[in-house]
Symmetry: C2
C-alpha cells in the first residue's frame, strides 16, 4: 500500500493527491499547474523553482539554488520527493501572472485502466480454461486385460469421468507407451475441450505422475513493431510473466506495406515468417524463464495480430492486402500445431490465431473487442485502437461496425522532426507559461529531452493551441514575444528545449509540418469515427463508453486529445483504457472456451466499412483537418475555455 499525500499549489489553490515519493514536478503537471522546466526533470536547467510553505520534502536542494534561495524555502520541483502533505507556492512575477495561471490548463486526465476481473469472469462462467489436466491411476495391463494403451486411457476416462467423446492426437499415441510405464500407469492427461459442444474433447498430452497443478498458456500479440507475450496460469488465471521484443521483421520494413512489398520478393514471405517466429521464440524463452516453468508445461497458445502480421505468421501471401480492392486471404484460420509454425513449444500445443474482419481490421482488433468485453455490453461503445493504422469499432452486444483509417505514423513519433517512440528521454508531458511561453517539459525517466513521443505530441499541440500559440489550422502566431517561436528554412517552429538542455546537442523543436502531420492523423481518426457513426445512424452524443486500446493510449491526456479533436469531446469518465487490446483478447481466449466460441459469432456480426468507398468520408476528413474541427460546436467545453481565455486576456 502506498501512502497518499495532499499537495496544495499556490497561488492557484489547486489540490492534488499523490503517492509518497513522487516528485513535486510530476504532482504539478498532474494538477495542471505550470512550472517552467526545460530539462525534462533531470535537474540541470534549474528552472523549476518552487517555494515550500508547509510540510517536508526529501531532496530538492541543488547548486542551481543559492544559499539564500534555499533558506527562503526554494527547492527544485523536479528533485523534490514528496514525504508529507505540502503547501507549495509557484513564484510568479505579478498578480496578472497568478490569475492567468490560475485559469489555465486542465489538470492531467488519463483514462481509467480497465483490467480483467478474475472473480467477475468466474461469476459469468467465463473462466473455463480450454485445456484441463486430469490425474489418473490406470489399472495395469495383464494377460487377461491387454487393451491398447490408448484404449486403456480412453476407457478409464469414459468409465470414471463420463468422457464419452474423445479423440487422441498422434503425439499422445507416440508418448503413451513409455509414459504409462514410467510411473506404474499413473499419469496426468491433458484434455483440450472443444469450442463447440458438437465436437470432441481431444487428449493432447500425457505425462507420468501428477502434474495437474501445472497448467499454463501463452497469450501473444504479434504487433508490427513489438511482439508481446504473457504466461498465464490456467489454474489461478493469473499472468505470471510478460515480455515484449521488437518484431524482427522491422529490418525488412517499418510498416505493414513495406513488409508486404518485401514478402512479394522471391523467398521474402518465407523469410518474414522465419523472422517473426524467431522473435516469438525469443519472447517465449523469456516469459517461460521468468515464470519459472518448463516450455513443455505450456498447454496452449493464442495469438492475435493485424491481418498482415497474421498472414505473414501463417506464411500466407499478403500481396492482395495492399492492392485495391484490399482482399485478405481469409478471416478465419484453423487451429494449427505450434511446432508446424516453428514455435519452440511441445508438439501437443495448438496455436489459436485470432480471426480478422478485413485487410485493415485484423485479429488484434477482434481480440480487443473480445478482451474488453465490448461485444457483451448493452452500452453503445466506441472502441479505438490508435496507431499508424487506426481502427474504430462501434457497437454493443447486438451489432458491431468497424473501419480502419490510415492515420500515418504521427502517433508513434513518425513524420515528426523530433518524433520518437515512448522511451527514455521522450517528452511525454508539457505545459506552457501563458505569458512568457516558456515550456515545462517532462520526459520519460526524467532525463534531458531527446524528442517527443505520441502522447507528448498531443499535449504539446493541444497546449499550444489553447494558449493561442498556434491557430486552428496549426499555424504559429508570429507576433508573440518569445524567441522560442522562429522560422527555419521558411518553416515556423517552437523550441521546446535549447541545445544545451538536451541529450542530443541540438535544439528540440516542434515544426508546423509536424503539427500538420498530427492534424492529418487525428483527422483520419476522427473522421473515421464520424463516418462510421453516421453510417449506422448515430451521433457522438449516443456514445456511452469509449474504449482506448493501443500502445500509446495509457498515458495520453484525454482532455488534450479532445482539445485537438482526436477524440470526440465527452465526459472523460466514459473513457477507459485497455492497453494492449490484442494481448488482452489473446489472454481471454486462453482462459475460456466461451470466448473462442463467441469470437466466430462476433466475426460474422461485425460489418466492415471501407472508408475509401464511403462517400461521406472525404467530407468528414476535410472538416476534421482543423483544431479541433471546423465545427467548434461539437466541442462545447473547449469552446467555453477558449472564450474565457479570450476574455481574460483582453
Amino acid at each position: 500500500m502506498t501512502t497518499e499525500f495532499t499537495i496544495r499549489f499556490l497561488p492557484h489553490n489547486k489540490e492534488i493527491s499523490v503517492a509518497e515519493g513522487d516528485t513535486l514536478i510530476r504532482a504539478a503537471i498532474e494538477a495542471g499547474v505550470h512550472v517552467n522546466a526545460s530539462c525534462g526533470g533531470e535537474g540541470v536547467c534549474g528552472k523549476c523553482r518552487v517555494i515550500v510553505e508547509e510540510g517536508s520534502l526529501e531532496g530538492g536542494i541543488s547548486e542551481k539554488l543559492s544559499a539564500e534561495d534555499q533558506e527562503q524555502g526554494y527547492r527544485l520541483a523536479c528533485q523534490s520527493l514528496i514525504k508529507s502533505d505540502l503547501v507549495v507556492r509557484i513564484p510568479v512575477e505579478s498578480e496578472v501572472d497568478a490569475s492567468v495561471l490560475n485559469m489555465q490548463a486542465t489538470p492531467r486526465c488519463t483514462a481509467r485502466i480497465q483490467e480483467m476481473d478474475l472473480e467477475e469472469l468466474k461469476e459469468k462462467g467465463l473462466f473455463v480454461p480450454p485445456v484441463e489436466k486430469k490425474y489418473l491411476e490406470l489399472p495395469e495391463p495383464n494377460a487377461q486385460d491387454n487393451l491398447a494403451d490408448v484404449t486403456r486411457l480412453v476407457s478409464y476416462l469414459k468409465a470414471n469421468y463420463h468422457e464419452h467423446r474423445l479423440d487422441v492426437d498422434l503425439p499422445v499415441i507416440r508418448k503413451i507407451p513409455d509414459v504409462l510405464r514410467q510411473d506404474d500407469f499413473k499419469i496426468t492427461a491433458t484434455l483440450a475441450r472443444p469450442v463447440h459442444e458438437i465436437s470432441k474433447t481431444r487428449i493432447i498430452n500425457v505425462k507420468p505422475g501428477d502434474t495437474t497443478n501445472r497448467n499454463f498458456a501463452i497469450a501473444m500479440d504479434i504487433g508490427t513493431t513489438t511482439i508481446y507475450g504473457q504466461v498465464i496460469d490456467l489454474i489461478s488465471g493469473r499472468v505470471l510473466s510478460q515480455h515484449g521484443e521488437f518484431n524482427g521483421q522491422i529490418s525488412y520494413g517499418e510498416d505493414v506495406i513495406s513488409r508486404i512489398v518485401f514478402a512479394e520478393k522471391p523467398g521474402g514471405l518465407a523469410k518474414l515468417q522465419e523472422v517473426v517466429i524467431k522473435t516469438i521464440n525469443k519472447v517465449i524463452e523469456k516469459i517461460v524463464k521468468r515464470a519459472k516453468i518448463d516450455p513443455d508445461e505450456i498447454s496452449t497458445i493464442t495469438l492475435a495480430g493485424n491481418t498482415t502480421m497474421t498472414q505473414l505468421l501463417l506464411k500466407v501471401n499478403p500481396s492482395y492486402i495492399r492492392r485495391s480492392p484490399y482482399v485478405p486471404a481469409s478471416t478465419l484460420y484453423p487451429p494449427i500445431k505450434a511446432v508446424d509454425l516453428g514455435m519452440a513449444l511441445g508438439d501437443h500445443v495448438t496455436a489459436l490465431v485470432y480471426p480478422a474482419i478485413s485487410s485493415y481490421v485484423g485479429g488484434d482488433i477482434v481480440a480487443g473487442v473480445m478482451g474488453s468485453g465490448m461485444y457483451r455490453t448493452d452500452a453503445l461503445t466506441l472502441f479505438m485502437d490508435i496507431g499508424t493504422n487506426a481502427e474504430i469499432v462501434i457497437g454493443n452486444k447486438d451489432w458491431l461496425a468497424c473501419a480502419a483509417a490510415s492515420a500515418g505514423p504521427a502517433f508513434e513519433g513518425g513524420g515528426v522532426k523530433f518524433g520518437m517512440r515512448a522511451t527514455k528521454g521522450a517528452i511525454e508531458d508539457f505545459s506552457l507559461d501563458p505569458l512568457t511561453f516558456e515550456p515545462m517539459n517532462m520526459t520519460i525517466d526524467n532525463v534531458r529531452p531527446k524528442g517527443i513521443c505520441g502522447s507528448g505530441l498531443i499535449t504539446i499541440v493541444a497546449t499550444l493551441f489553447e494558449m493561442g500559440v498556434i491557430d486552428n489550422q496549426g499555424k504559429f502566431n508570429p507576433d508573440l514575444e518569445t524567441t522560442r517561436i522562429r522560422q527555419d528554412d521558411g518553416v515556423y517552429e517552437y523550441v521546446l528545449a535549447w541545445k544545451d538542455e538536451t541529450q542530443i546537442d541540438r535544439d528540440v523543436v516542434l515544426t508546423e509540418i509536424d503539427i500538420e502531420n498530427l492534424i492529418r492523423a487525428k483527422g483520419a481518426m476522427y473522421s473515421g469515427t464520424m463516418t462510421l457513426l453516421s453510417e449506422v445512424g448515430m451521433s457522438v452524443q449516443d456514445i456511452e463508453k469509449i474504449i482506448l486500446a493501443g500502445g500509446f493510449g495509457s498515458y495520453v491526456d484525454l482532455e488534450k486529445a479532445m482539445t485537438i479533436g482526436l477524440l470526440p469531446e465527452t465526459d472523460p469518465d466514459k473513457v477507459v483504457f485497455v492497453g494492449n487490446g490484442s494481448l488482452m483478447g489473446a489472454k481471454m481466449s486462453s482462459l475460456t472456451n466461451r470466448i473462442r466460441k463467441d469470437v466466430v459469432e462476433v466475426t460474422k456480426k461485425m460489418t466492415n466499412f471501407e472508408l475509401s468507398e464511403t462517400p461521406s468520408y472525404m467530407d468528414n476528413y476535410v472538416a476534421a483537418l482543423f483544431l479541433p474541427h471546423t465545427d467548434l460546436n461539437n466541442f462545447p467545453k473547449l469552446k467555453a475555455r477558449l472564450e474565457s481565455r479570450k476574455t481574460m486576456l483582453q
Copy 2:
C-alpha cells in the same frame, strides 16, 4: 478373350480345359496327372515324355527325343504349347501303373479369386469417394465486394451448392490468393467429405481452372516384407497402376520382432520410420508415373499394415508389442497429413491409416475384413491370412472374433532348408509317381529348381503323405525302394532334384526337419481356427465360407492344404481368395467413406482372443501336430482316399 481347348489324358481318361498356349505339363498338373519332371519345366531333364495321340501342338521337340521317338508322337510335355484339343497318353510301364495313376492325386484346385465388383459397389452405395472436386466460377472482387478470398469461396459453395458446413485447411488459405487470380477466379476446389455426418466437409485444395476430371487416390499395403501401392481413379473407380517394392526395413531385420528390437536401439525408431517412408515414396513415384498422373493430383492416401508396421510408420514405439502382455500403443489412429510423415505428396493429402485390433491382429487384417466384405455378410465366414504371423477372423455382419497364431516362417520359405520366396525357380507344384516315387517338379517361370516356395511345400508334403512316403508324423518310410529317400547327417530327406538338374549345383531336398516346421506352422494355424471356433461355440461344419488372404494364398492347392490339415476339410467351392486383403481394404477405403465409417464399428465389434491365454489352445495345437490331425474323422474325404489307396496297394 482366350481360346480354351480340351485335353484328355490317357490312360487316366481325365479331361481338363486349358487356355491356348499353355504348356502340356501345366495342363497335366492341373488335371492331377503325374508326369516325371525334375527340371522344373525348363526342358533339360527330358523326363516329361508324353505321346500326342490326337490334335496339334507347337514345340515339344527336343534333342532329348530321338527321331524315332518323335515319329511315334513323343513330345516333351514342358516344351509343348497347346494349340488345339488334344488326346495325350502318359507312358506307363504296366497295367498296374495305369490303374494306380488313375486313382491317385486330386486335380489341382485353387481358390476362386474374389475381386471387387464396381457395379455392385455402386448399387450398394459403396462408391462414394471421400474426396470430391467442384469447378467454380466465382465472382471477381471489387470495391463494393471485397470479401476475403476464403469467404468468397465458402459463400459461393453455400449459395450454389448448399454446402453449409465447411472447414478450410491452412494449405488452402496459403494457395487461394494466387490460385484465384491465375484464371480469373475460375477454380476447382477439392472437398473432403466427413466420415461422420456430424463433422464438417473440409476444403483441402484449390487449383486454377477446371481439373474435375482428374481425381486420384493411393491405396497402400505396408507389409513386413513388401510394400504394395495402387493408384485409383476416383471417377471410374479403376486401379490405374500397381507396384510393389521390398520394404527397406528388411535390412534391419526380417520379421516384426527383429524390427522391434532394432527400434529399441537409440535412433532406431526414427531410422525405421525414415526407411519405410523412403520405400513408400519409391512406390508412389513408380505408380504415379505408370498411371501418367502428377503426384499433386493425388487427393488422398489410405494405408494398411500389421500393428508393428503401423507403429513404425507413425513413429510410435513398438516395444511393448513384443513383451507380455503384448500391448499396442493404440488401435485407432487419427488422420495425419501425408507430408508430416514425409510422404512425397501434396500438402493437401491426408493419410488414413487402418486401425488395428491388437498387437498381432493389425490394420492389414481389418482391411482384409473390410475389403472382402466379410463384415457385411450373413454367412458365417472364416478369414485366414496365411503368413509368418497367421491371423484368423471368424464371424459375419453381427459379430467378429479374431486371433493371431505365430506360424513361423515356413509358409514363406523360412526354416525350410531349400525354402525360398515364390520367385523364379521355386518349385511351386509337385506330383509323385506312386510306384517309382519319381517327382514331377514345376517351378515358377519353368526354370531349373532353386528351392521350394510355400505353396510348393504344402503340395509336396501333402503328396508325400498321401503316397505313403511320410507318415502322419511327417517321418519318412525308410523301406521304400528309391534312392531319393536318404539320410544326411542322421536326418531323412527326399531328393526333389539332383544337383545337375538344379540351378544351384546342389541336390534340392526336403528334410524331415522342414516337414516338422511345416507341421508346426499349419498346426498353429489350424489349432488357432479350432480354438477360436470353440470359444464362440461353433464347429468347422458351421463355416459357410472361407476367405484366404495373404501373399501365397492364390496358388495354394486347396485339396493339398486340407490334406496336410492347414485348412479344415470343406468343399473347395466355399473357399475364395482375395489376394492382398490389406491392399484390397485400403482400396475400398479410398473409394468410399462408408467403409471409413464402418471400420470404426468393426474395430469395436471384433473380439480378440489371445491364444496363449486361451486354455484350450495348447491341446488343440498338440492335436494338430499330425498330418492332417490326430483325429482323421474331421477329414472324411482324405480318410476315404487314404483307405482306397491302401486297398488298391494291397
